[in-house]
Structure formats: structure tokens, C-alpha cells
Symmetry: C2
Subunit: 502 residues, 2 copies
């Protein structure tokens, strides 16, 4: 067969695998949003069957042979080469993980999730400890199967953020800590003085119907394409669906926290704009996929924090918002913006954390995972290590494990190495935003109610690029340099110094 014939065979196989992944996306969405509760067991069977078929396809020796021949061919254009590179990575990982290990992993995580739910409810880490020990052990086996020459935790991180390593994260997180810990101390001191703007209005009750109405209008204002997506309500907000033409976001509504659902919708819309902005011609090929979890999070955080917690974005919408939420009539615009950026130093929960403390929650988890897999930390000592770091970084000690090391779902799902993506996203977002500001009048266009200039810049530099380049190259092409904490550090220092009059 000629190279074009081989490549056509490859893209057909990859398209099939994407179709299975997309079907899984719909089954997942359906389960969260509309599935009758009696169908849980059947849905588990449907999803594990499709996941097994996907693994068989990805690990198939025929696919491996095809990829080898294409990797050696000199006849491919840049996009085809990138597509082969991405497919090769998926295949290599899948082929190295024995089916037996895949099955044990799936069974263990399903079980562990149930144990975690109960342990968290009982606020008892000791209930979760045995299964967490098993999970850590099996994650070690998985990592060793994938690449026995590299440190276990590097292999795990790599699943979510290709090419990222502990060596690099240690440096990045040290820089963030050096900025954030003293900055938070200054905010704390300022808070102790009192006399800051009143923010009691943040807890004014708003009906879910009204929140939905206002939220949807903001999602539309951000140019989410409702012909290629949906907005629904779920217990845990997420962005899912089935590929670039079927992007589904969800939110939840709490009556006394209207800003939470609003910023949640803006966050998920950021994810959705990335998915909807992918290259549609290559939509069924790996090369069009989102680059990494960190880059995905950069898009949600860019819109939620950099844009959605700034004055320019809200200026054209505030009169409308005041009309929808009458209690805002008494809240001056500057006070509203202060409320958007409120720092809460008594908060134990990562998902409720503000922009300033969030990275410290992530760094804490990163350090614990790193030490668990290096052997420096035993699973039994995890709660003590957690609490000590909470005191060290944030000055507060969780009163129980539910507010401490049992709060996150990730470990119960075996997602070790995922947490860093959140904060890498915040750092990338600041880099993208800083560069976008040099290319266009971001604040001016947002203040005029026009998201298209900023969205267009992101479409061209990030969304349409998909996985054409490794992460560092993508970021360098977009911003002139690879991962760099300086823009984020400058952004938070400047913003919070200003807001809190430090």
C-alpha cells in the first residue's frame, strides 16, 4: 500500500475510535442529566463494554503496524505527522496496559468511589485508607507498565499534561508560592483592619429560574453556539457531549449564591468555546483534540477569572443584571467587581476557593501525591500531612477529614496527577491574556460588549491548533515563550493590590 492508502486506513480507524469516545460522552451526559435512576447498573455495563472495545481498538497490533510504517514514512504533511504522533501515543499507552490491568483498575475505581462517598459522609479517613492504598499500588503498576524507566508520578502526570514532569512543576509551584503566600498574608492583614466594601448582597436569594435566565443570556453573550451545544442542570457542573458539534455544558443553582452558578456557567462556557472552536474538518482525528487538561483549563479560567471577574466584561451587562436582580440596585459597580473577586481566607474547600488561594490548594495536593508515589509519605500519614500544609499555606486547619483530605473525588477515581492541570491552566490563561492585550484592545472591546476580538484571537492561536503541536510549542507560538509564571504573578499582585488597597 502507498503512504496515502496507509494514512487513509489510519484515519478511518481513528475516526471509529473517536466515534466510540463520543458515544461514551453521550452515555455519560445522559447518566448525569436524564437517565432514570433504575438504569445505573445497565449504564455501567454499557459504558464498560464500549470502554473495553475502545481499548481493544487502541491497542490493536494492526494499528501498531500501521503507525510504525507511517512514522517511518517521509511523505506526510505536518498535520498528518502530528496526527500520527498523537495516535501513536494513545496506541503505545493502550498496548502497554494489559487488558487484565484495565479491568482490575475499572473494578477498583468503581468500588473505591463508593467507599469514598461513605467515608466522606462519616468524616473517617480510616475507612478510605485501605482502598486508597490499593489504588496507589495499582497506579504504580499501571505507571510501570506504561514506562518503567521514568518516575511513577511523572508517568501519571503525563496522562493529563503530556510532557510535564515533577522537576518542572516543582519550579513552577515554588514561584507561585513565593508570590501567593506573602500576597495572601497582606490581604489577611488588610482584612483584619476592616472597613472594606460590604458584600452581604452576595448571599441575596435568587430563584433558580431567574439564575438560569440570566446565566443563559451571558452564555449567549460569550458566543456559545446553541446549534452545536446545550446548557442543562446537573449535580456536578461539567462540559461534555460528543465532539466539536455537540458540546454540552451544565451548571447547578444555589439560591443564596447566585454568583457561584454564574461564574460556573462562564467557566464551562470557556471549556465549550475551546471544543466548539476546534478544527471541524479534522474533528474526528486526534490532531484536532484539545491539547491537554492544562490548556483546557486555561480556556475556562481565562473566561471565568481573567475576563469574567474583570470590570470591562461586566460594564455593558451591569444595568441588565441590576434589572434582573433588584438587590443589586444598591450595589455600585465597583462594589460588584470587588464582590466578584472576594478573597475568603476561612475556606477549606478547593472548589469554593478564590483565585488567590486556589493554587495553594492545588500545590498542597500535588506535593502530597508526589510524596505518596516517591514513598516519602505513607497513605496512613496523609491526613496529618494535609492539615500541616493547610496551616503552612493558608493558616487554617480543617476540623475534620471531610473538610480536609476526603473532600475531592479525584483519588477515588484513581485520577492521580490531575490536580496540577488546574493551576497550570491559570498560569497559561495569564500568559495568553497578556499576549492578547498586546495584539488587541481586550478591555475596550469587552467593555463595548464584543467578545469576538478576544475569542477570534483564542480561536486562531489555541482552539483551531488542537494538538498540532506539543504544549510548549503551542504556547510558544501563541505567546512567544513556553510556560511562564511571570504573567500570572504580575496579574494577581497588581489586581489584588489594587482591589484591597494594599
Amino acid at each position: 500500500m502507498t503512504t496515502p492508502e496507509l494514512y487513509a486506513d489510519l484515519t478511518r480507524r481513528l475516526s471509529d475510535m473517536t466515534a466510540i469516545e463520543e458515544a461514551l460522552g453521550i452515555l455519560q451526559w445522559d447518566q448525569e442529566i436524564v437517565m432514570p435512576k433504575g438504569a445505573v447498573a445497565a449504564r455501567g455495563r454499557q459504558m464498560s463494554t464500549l470502554a473495553a472495545i475502545l481499548h481493544q481498538n487502541q491497542s490493536s497490533p494492526a494499528l501498531g503496524g500501521l503507525l510504525r510504517r507511517l512514522s517511518e514514512s517521509g511523505d506526510l504533511d505536518d498535520i498528518a505527522r502530528a496526527n500520527v504522533r498523537e495516535a501513536n501515543r494513545d496506541h503505545a499507552r493502550a498496548a502497554r496496559i494489559p487488558e487484565e490491568l484495565v479491568r482490575r483498575w475499572t473494578a477498583l475505581t468503581v468500588h473505591a468511589h463508593e467507599v469514598w462517598v461513605d467515608a466522606r459522609k462519616a468524616q473517617e479517613f480510616s475507612q478510605f485508607e485501605p482502598v486508597l492504598t490499593e489504588l496507589v499500588g495499582l497506579a504504580r503498576q499501571r505507571a510501570a507498565a506504561i514506562d518503567s524507566h521514568r518516575p511513577v508520578y511523572d508517568v501519571l502526570i503525563d496522562e493529563f499534561e503530556v510532557g510535564m514532569t515533577m522537576a518542572r512543576l516543582d519550579g513552577v509551584f515554588a514561584e507561585l508560592k513565593a508570590t501567593l503566600v506573602p500576597l495572601i498574608a497582606r490581604v489577611r492583614a488588610r482584612l483584619a483592619q476592616g472597613g472594606l466594601a460590604d458584600t452581604a448582597w452576595l448571599q441575596s436569594p435568587v430563584s433558580p429560574e431567574r439564575q438560569r435566565e440570566v446565566g443563559e443570556s451571558m452564555v449567549r453573550a460569550m458566543a456559545f453556539d446553541f446549534d452545536r451545544g446545550r446548557l442543562d442542570t446537573s449535580v456536578h457542573p461539567f462540559c461534555g457531549g460528543a465532539g466539536t458539534d455537540d458540546v454540552r455544558i451544565t451548571t447547578r443553582y444555589k439560591e443564596t449564591a447566585f454568583l457561584g452558578s454564574l461564574s460556573g456557567m462562564i467557566h464551562e462556557t470557556g471549556h465549550a468555546l475551546y471544543e466548539q472552536g476546534r478544527d471541524r474538518q479534522l474533528g474526528d482525528q486526534p490532531v484536532s483534540r484539545a491539547r491537554s487538561m492544562g490548556i483546557h483549563e486555561s480556556q475556562s479560567l481565562l473566561w471565568e477569572k481573567q475576563v469574567g471577574q474583570g470590570a470591562p466584561f461586566w460594564r455593558p451587562h451591569y444595568v441588565r443584571l441590576q434589572a434582573a436582580y433588584p438587590f443589586l440596585a444598591a450595589v455600585p459597580f465597583d462594589n460588584f467587581v470587588f464582590g466578584l473577586n472576594l478573597v475568603r481566607l476561612d475556606n477549606f474547600i478547593r472548589v469554593d476557593a478564590d483565585e488567590l488561594t486556589y493554587p495553594l490548594h492545588v500545590i498542597l495536593r500535588y506535593e502530597i501525591e508526589r510524596d505518596l508515589f516517591s514513598g516519602a509519605l505513607a497513605v496512613a500519614d496523609l491526613p496529618a500531612a494535609w492539615n500541616a500544609k493547610m496551616v503552612q499555606y493558608l493558616g487554617i486547619e480543617p476540623p475534620n477529614a471531610a473538610l480536609g483530605c476526603l473532600q475531592d473525588v479525584h483519588w477515588s477515581m484513581g485520577s492521580f496527577g490531575y490536580f496540577p492541570s488546574y493551576t497550570l491552566g491559570a498560569v497559561y490563561a495569564a500568559q495568553f491574556m497578556q499576549t492578547a492585550r498586546t495584539a488587541l484592545d481586550v478591555d475596550g472591546t469587552l467593555a463595548a460588549g464584543d467578545v469576538q476580538p478576544l475569542l477570534g484571537w483564542l480561536r486562531e492561536r489555541v482552539h483551531q491548533q488542537g494538538s498540532r503541536y506539543p504544549t510548549d510549542e503551542l504556547v510558544t507560538r501563541a505567546t512567544g515563550r513556553p510556560l511562564d509564571t511571570a504573567p500570572f504573578c504580575a496579574y494577581v499582585t497588581d489586581k489584588y493590590t489594587r482591589l484591597y488597597g494594599l
Copy 2:
């Protein structure tokens, strides 16, 4: 491997195939109910990929070998033997149809459906004729691949109603015609005399919201399990979902035809009760599946017509119905029951037909299909044959092809041989109902608002039996004899003689 080991291998494979079918069920439901319109092409890709994987699984030589060894084993119990028989049938069909033919068939039906939509809109059979000729040709090839020793049309019927043949249908339909044609003539004569109950109230407008409310209350009254199912709105009503624990029915609402959506909901609930009543322990195995399309239709029609158009079922609900639909206050209960059973002799459309004329619409289509595949009728002569039969059976001639031979979607989907199932369902329903009446006080319990005795009888005799027995054996076990038109003929003669005072 021992027989139990071989059988365990088989059930695992069959469970996987069921899981793929169920995933397809969810993708189909999603497409009809919630999918954003821009996702049509992607959904086609997802569904055709899963369908191809299913075909590969069903036709796999490994499965064939397993089935051969198990078929020859004497160690299986009755249920296992029935399961092997059903699986063997699926495998044999799939293995005989070359993948190339599967692909051509799928591509042609997708294309034909588009052509049909346009031709129907234009009321021009000549636009549809070429692609219908192709479809008939490819259906011949499919049938020959499956079984070249039997008549083409018998092989096609067999896909929907296992074991049914033209020879048998000719007899059944002759019996029905002998009863229905003169009975309809007597109704026509009575209608010409005038003076029957007023039925103008049938067109009283009711809001979709109110119709939904009333309809859902009736679905609940029929013991549909909402923990294992849903009720939604769609353009074309259907019963779908993903297996016995996830049964999803839909309806549509027309403001000036409230009875249409109400009887539609009762019809789909009849299908749903069959699915929800299947053997849950064997839910992922072919042996638990609905026996055939004819038996499925018997369950929907038993509830829609035999139960839902009778006085006993409505007696305990009529006061509530009058409260919900105030215009019914002026309609005496007997008049309401007459309206439920109104015969419309000026109707050209099968899906709008009443209980008395519906079988003649089906027989007409059956005879045309039979003659198309025997070669007695050319595709080009189809409209003339259709219109001649309409005059012969119903005394009316369609003014155009949209009201004639272009009205149904079935041929555009290549579903030749499906139509007889509708009327077989009506015949089976009458048989089941006649026997149920000898076992329990059907009218008395329904009039007391209790569906459980009748439902329990159906559960035990039909639903839980699934595909354990061939259709004739199932029906004989339930009613003492195989397919028999006498109960249906007696039922319609008695009922319409009474209602119309013939």
C-alpha cells in the same frame, strides 16, 4: 472447555452485543429528543460505527464456533438452549450478509430517505421510483444472501416476525377481509342514515401542557415505572431507550386532537410495559428479548384498543378527565366511548386509521410488497395498484401520491415485510384478551381502576417469557392455540355492531 465454561463465554459476548445495542438506543433517543441540530452528521458517524462493530461481533467466526459447540451439547437447560437458538439466528443472518452489502444497504437507505421526503412533499411518485427500484433490488440480494432457497419476501418478513410466511399471511388476511369488508359496508350504510352521536367535541382545543398532565396521569395509572423509564415529547412517537431498566416513551401533542396524543401515550405505554416486564435477571441476553414485532404490537394495541377504547378502563377516570377538559362536561360517558371508537371512512392515512379500517391499510401494503418481490408487480405500476386496492377495500381513491403510496416512511428505510406485524399484533391482542377474560374479571378490575390483574396476567404469559419459545409456542402456551383470527373477528363484529346499532 466444559459446557458451562463455553456457555459463560457465550453469555459474556452476548452481553457485550446487548450493551452496544442499548448504547445505540440511547444515541437514537438523544437524537430525537435533545441533540442540537448541528450534530446530525457526527451522530450519523457515531451510530454507523457502533452498528458496524455490532455486525462484526455478531458475524464473528469465533462466536459461530462457540454456538456450534453449544448447539451440539446436551448439557444445557431449557433457557440456555433457547438463548443459544436466538443467538444462533442472529449470528447466522449476520454472518451471511457480507460487510460490503451492509455498507451499501446503509448508504442506500440514508439516501432513499432523503429522496422520499422530497418526493412526498412534491407528491411525485416518479421522483421516488428509481431509488425504490434500487432498494427492491438490494433487498432481493440481502434476502438471497440470508437464504437463497426460500422466497425473497418470506425471508424479509422473517426479519420482523420469525417463522411467518406469505402462505400463512394470505390465509390470515383473507379471513380478516372476509369479516372487515362487509362490516365496514354496514357501518358506511349506517353512517349514511345519520343521527349518530355528536363527536364535534373531539376537535376541542387543549393546550399541550394540559394534555401532557392528563396523559402522564394515565401512563402512571397503567403502572409504567418512572424509575426505569421516561416520558418525553418528539416529532414521531416511539418507545425506545436502553433495555428493560431504561424504557423511554414519547408522544406528540396536537391542540385540536387531544384524543390522538392520549391514545398514542397509551399505545407506547403498552410497548413499554412489555419491555419493563421482561426477565431482568436475563436482561442482557437474547432469550429475554421481546418475541417479535407482532407480539410487541399486540401489547401496545391490547392497551390502546382493547383496553383504552373500552368503557371499563375509562369509567373510573372520566370524572377526572371531565375536570381537566371542561368541554367534556356536556359529553355523556357513552358518547365519549363512541368518540373513542369513531370510524372514519374518508381517511387515506394508515397512521390515522381506526381499528376497523387499519387492517385493510396493512393488507393492501402486504399484497403490494408480496407482488413486488414475486415479480407480479413492477415498481412503476405501484401507484395504480395502490389506488385500485384503496377503492376495492375502502371505497376511496387517494387524490395524490402523498395521500397514497408515498405516505409511509417504511420503504424509504428498506423495511419491506414490516407492515404485517401491525395487524398480527391486533389479532394476537384479541387472542390474549379473550383468554385473559376467562382467567380473570378484566372489565370488573379495570372498572375499579386496577390494571394489576390484567398486567400480571400479561407479565406471566408474555412479558417474562421473552424469547424462550418460538412465537407459535408462546401464543399456544398463553391462549391454548397458535395465531387465530376468530377472537379479533368476533371482537370487532360485536363491538361495532353494538356501537353503531347495526
